[in-house]
């Protein structure tokens, strides 16, 4: 675990998770986030929304980034406090596959993320995909 840092009062240490892009890692990411979010003064309702938004992005990476990848794909989740809320990044080094848009399928993933957090930015590159989310916290 992290040691005491020079963090200001109420500002949590950033969270950094690096796991293989496999289904079993999704529970690891949730467990770490469930422990970290209360340290960032996030209430349970908002924490559940963040957990789902991050879970969608991570699940999508596990399902699609690993398909046709020439190397072991890793997932990196980082979370930090901003002045007004939280910034969470989900990054993979796999391949980007545009989500199909059929009813009831993963096409709803990004729409769901947008509904749960304030901004979602998806940046696909040949070396992987980065999903950045911002969630404003209203005390």
């Amino acid at each position: 675990m992290t040691t005491v840092s020079g963090a200001h009062r109420g500002v949590p240490d950033p969270l950094q998770i690096r796991v293989p892009a496999i289904p079993a890692s999704l529970a690891v990411i949730r467990a770490r986030l469930r422990r970290w979010l209360p340290t960032a003064a996030v209430n349970p309702a908002t924490a559940a929304e963040l957990l789902l938004a991050v879970g969608e992005a991570a699940s999508n990476a596990v399902e699609h980034a690993t398909r046709g990848a020439r190397r072991d794909v890793e997932l990196e989740v980082s979370a930090r406090a901003t002045e007004t809320g939280l910034a969470v990044t989900i990054k993979d080094n796999g391949r980007w596959h545009a989500p199909p848009n059929r009813p009831g399928t993963r096409g709803h993933g990004s729409k769901l993320m947008t509904a749960l957090v304030d901004t979602v930015t998806i940046t696909p590159t040949p070396d992987g995909t980065t999903v950045e989310m911002r969630k404003e916290l209203h005390p």
């Binding site: 289904p23 949730r30 957990l51 789902l52 879970g55 009813p103």
Partner: protein
């Protein structure tokens, strides 16, 4: 993952079969969830899925529910709190299933 996370209660009299799920549902165990739904749907033309004790589920669970809803009348019991309502609304699952909220 144990089977007890997804429990199937067989149809009794006019009562349709009930699948009771607990804990987290994600990519790692959604196959097992889907299998339980399929088993329930094989017993009856309508099933109830109780998600009120589910602590986490995402689009992968929604996909499994959509798959079973294609052939079976589906009733969902969901917790009053939490983002599951958003999940059902965005995916449109709330338009193909009857959704009951439990406090």
């Amino acid at each position: 993952m144990t089977n007890s996370q997804f429990r199937l209660t067989a149809a009794v009299a006019e009562q349709s079969p009930v699948v009771t799920a607990t804990g987290d549902i994600d990519l790692a165990n959604v196959g097992e969830f889907g299998d339980t739904l399929t088993k329930a749907a094989a017993q009856s033309d309508s099933i109830t899925v109780d998600l009120s004790e589910v602590s986490y589920c995402d689009s992968t669970a929604v996909r499994a529910l959509f798959a079973v809803a294609a052939t079976t009348k589906l009733a969902l019991i969901v917790p009053a709190e939490g983002p599951i309502t958003t999940l059902l609304g965005i995916s449109g699952l709330d338009r193909v299933a009857t959704v009951v909220t439990r406090n």
